[in-house]
């Protein structure tokens, strides 16, 4: 059986969901026998490939580059998963949403040259940090801040079996 082509990416988040993924511990080695990691912060492939079966997206969408990449990735992906609360709801990064972008940046960086105010050498901060479904179609939602490793495992087992993963009870919790 060919390996399932899995990718992961983190956008505006804390990387905690990826750390929770690594908390699969020894199960990572078992997973590696069934899937191929074709793109991820923990591997060295730099270009998002075509024909990705499953993409785990951690984080909200906070800047112009992330919005662009998410759209590109969606196009090349069969099943796109909102991985963790920031991707599902916007969560902590969206706490800045009621505040004007310029005020956020001026408070952090002062009155001089400020990164992110305009499109420049670094991407422009979007006016609001958005959950994924505000920008693209999301196929599956995996909540948690972060989702605990056991929840990730149940979810992935379902996906790899070609089923719609059924999360129940405590596995549906945010936070």
């Amino acid at each position: 059986m060919p390996k399932v082509r899995v990718a992961s990416v983190w956008f505006s988040g804390c990387s905690g969901c990826h750390m929770s993924f690594l908390d699969l511990d020894e199960r990572l080695l078992e997973l590696a026998t069934k899937v191929e990691f074709v793109y991820s912060p923990i591997v060295d492939i730099k270009e998002y490939p075509d024909d990705v079966d499953v993409l785990l997206v951690e984080g909200a969408i906070g800047n112009s580059e992330q919005r662009h990449l998410l759209t590109e990735m969606r196009r090349k992906t069969k099943i796109l998963v909102a991985f963790g609360d920031c991707a599902v709801t916007g969560n902590v990064p969206s706490l800045r949403n009621p505040i004007l972008r310029e005020e956020v940046l001026r408070t952090v960086y002062g009155e001089g040259e400020v990164p992110g105010l305009e499109e420049g050498e670094v991407p422009q901060l979007l006016p609001q940090a958005l959950p994924l479904h505000a920008i693209v179609t999301v196929d599956r939602f995996l909540p948690g801040c972060p989702p605990p490793a056991d929840r990730i495992w149940v979810f992935l087992q379902g996906l790899l079996a070609g089923k719609r993963p059924e999360l129940t009870g405590a596995d549906l919790r945010f936070g």
Partner: protein, 480 residues
């Protein structure tokens, strides 16, 4: 862009580090490197949106700055809260906070060495990028990869034994911690300690045996004289959760000592550049950008008089012997320092697990808001972390300043990228392996760009080679 010059671009998303960034390398007419910069490309604005939240929320909220070292922000925030409550946490709470932080050193340092950097170190900088990752490592050396997983898991288990979860435990609070350690958890952790120690010592021995083969990288991955900053104990020993600030120079001579962490604005300045979301702290006396200093494992080992536990002190003596007793100045040896710190952390964990006071139920000092300003300082795995809060009489945040570990190293990371570019790219045919060394230089710092507060997310560390007129030269795209 110059007319008629073919536009070619090198994109090297830097993977196997934590966050989003970009390296740009500029060449002069002779094809020599004129400037190289490391940009951080995302920001979230914590210092603004934390205004209006309450002091009590801050440990759990700021933990979300970083999922790799959430414990650092949790503990540093709780310490800033201690200052605002004007209380000293009970002794057992201080020990438990330290125990959790040591667990974090183990997991975070293990992640850096085994999961992120050992593919370069052990499979080679020039090895196939398709397999140059932890899974490729598992195929080449299953036992080593398994060791890395188990060592990291041990650190995570210490954290979850105290805080009920591995990532983002809501456990430390202003005044202490929420829950004590149970005897069962202590016994379980003590039983697993010998295996963790064996793995850590094996990794350290492997590094020491292999380092002659990395001589060129040691010389070029950020080897330059600089200042180093860390907390040290009142007695000058290695410290991670208390003590005072010390600066040493490249001769390991003390430049400043006994500095009150709460008065950091008197000796640390913060510069902003429009080309990076990450600020540039500097030692004020030397000005910007000459006041470059480094923090983290390398700095902690250069700053302290001794570590204070036998195995770690033996390793420290070997470490220092590589620099004739002066400061170890190559950032490549952050890896070395990290492995020594894992041993140090495990030795101290062993001491705490033998200490009967660790089971005391008295772990929280209750108080209200007694001061309107407080600073917490702490050594995160990657270096010194400051949380500075101003609150109103109800404990609602009015202003927040955070200086994160990776920020202190911003100037040094830029200098390192420049040195590697000069060494490997000047007049060279650019290869994937050479570009991976640029990334490797950044990886040595184990930068936490999630932590950079002003920075987060996926790390497409794009390398752009610019010609003298700003045109983009050459293109090496890593094949997927």
């Amino acid at each position: 862009m110059t007319q008629g010059v073919p536009l070619r671009e090198i994109k090297v998303p830097v993977t196997r580090i934590e966050g989003h960034g970009l390296i740009t390398v500029e060449l002069n007419r002779a094809g020599k490197v004129s400037r190289a910069r490391f940009h951080v490309t995302e920001g979230r604005g914590f210092e603004r949106f934390c205004r209006g939240r309450t002091l009590w929320e801050m440990p759990a909220l700021t933990a979300r700055i970083c999922g790799i070292c959430p414990v650092s922000h949790l503990l540093c925030s709780a310490k800033a809260g201690d200052a605002i409550l004007a209380v000293r946490p009970p002794r057992a709470a201080d020990k438990l906070r330290r125990l959790m932080n040591l667990g974090q050193y183990v997991q975070s340092h293990a992640l850096s060495f085994f999961h992120l950097s050992s593919p370069d170190l052990l499979l080679g900088w020039d090895s196939d990028p398709k397999t140059r990752n932890v899974f490729g490592l598992a195929a080449a050396d299953p036992q080593l990869a398994l060791n890395g997983i188990r060592l990291r898991a041990y650190g995570q288990e210490i954290i979850s034994s105290l805080g009920e979860r591995r990532v983002h435990p809501a456990w430390a609070v202003p005044g202490g911690v929420r829950a004590p350690l149970t005897a069962e958890a202590r016994d379980r952790l003590a039983a697993k300690l010998p295996e963790a120690m064996r793995i850590a010592q094996d990794a350290l021995a492997l590094y020491e045996k292999s380092v002659p083969g990395w001589a060129e990288e040691v010389r070029s991955f950020g080897d330059f004289p600089s200042l180093f900053m860390s907390l040290v104990g009142e007695d000058g020993a290695w410290e991670h959760h208390g003590g005072r600030i010390r600066f040493v120079d490249a001769d390991r001579a003390i430049v400043a000592d006994g500095l009150d962490p709460a008065r950091y604005p008197e000796y640390i300045g913060e510069a902003v550049e429009g080309w990076s979301y990450l600020k540039f702290p500097y030692f004020q006396e030397a000005g910007y950008p000459d006041g470059l200093y480094r923090v983290g494992p390398l700095a902690r080992l250069n700053c302290c008089d001794r570590i204070g536990t036998p195995l770690a002190d033996e390793a420290l003596a070997r470490f220092r012997a590589t620099a004739d007793g002066k400061a170890v100045t190559s950032s490549f040896h952050y890896h070395y320092a990290r492995l020594i710190e894992i041993v140090a952390a495990l030795e101290r964990i062993g001491l705490y697990l033998e200490d009967p006071e660790i089971l005391s139920p008295r772990v929280r000092a209750e108080a209200g808001v007694n001061e309107q300003e407080g600073v917490g300082v702490h050594e995160a795995p990657r270096g010194t972390l400051f949380h500075h809060y101003w609150v109103n009489e109800d404990g609602v945040l009015e202003r927040v300043n955070l200086i994160v570990s990776t920020g202190h190293n911003n100037l040094a990371m830029n200098r390192t990228v420049t040195q590697i570019a000069h060494h490997y790219l000047d007049g060279q045919k650019i290869t994937e392996g050479l570009l991976n060394r640029l990334e490797g230089g950044i990886r040595a710092y184990d930068p936490c760009l999630s932590c950079s507060v002003h920075a987060a997310g996926q790390m497409p560390l794009r390398v752009v080679l610019l010609g003298p007129d700003g045109e983009i030269l050459d293109e090496v795209v890593r094949a997927a």
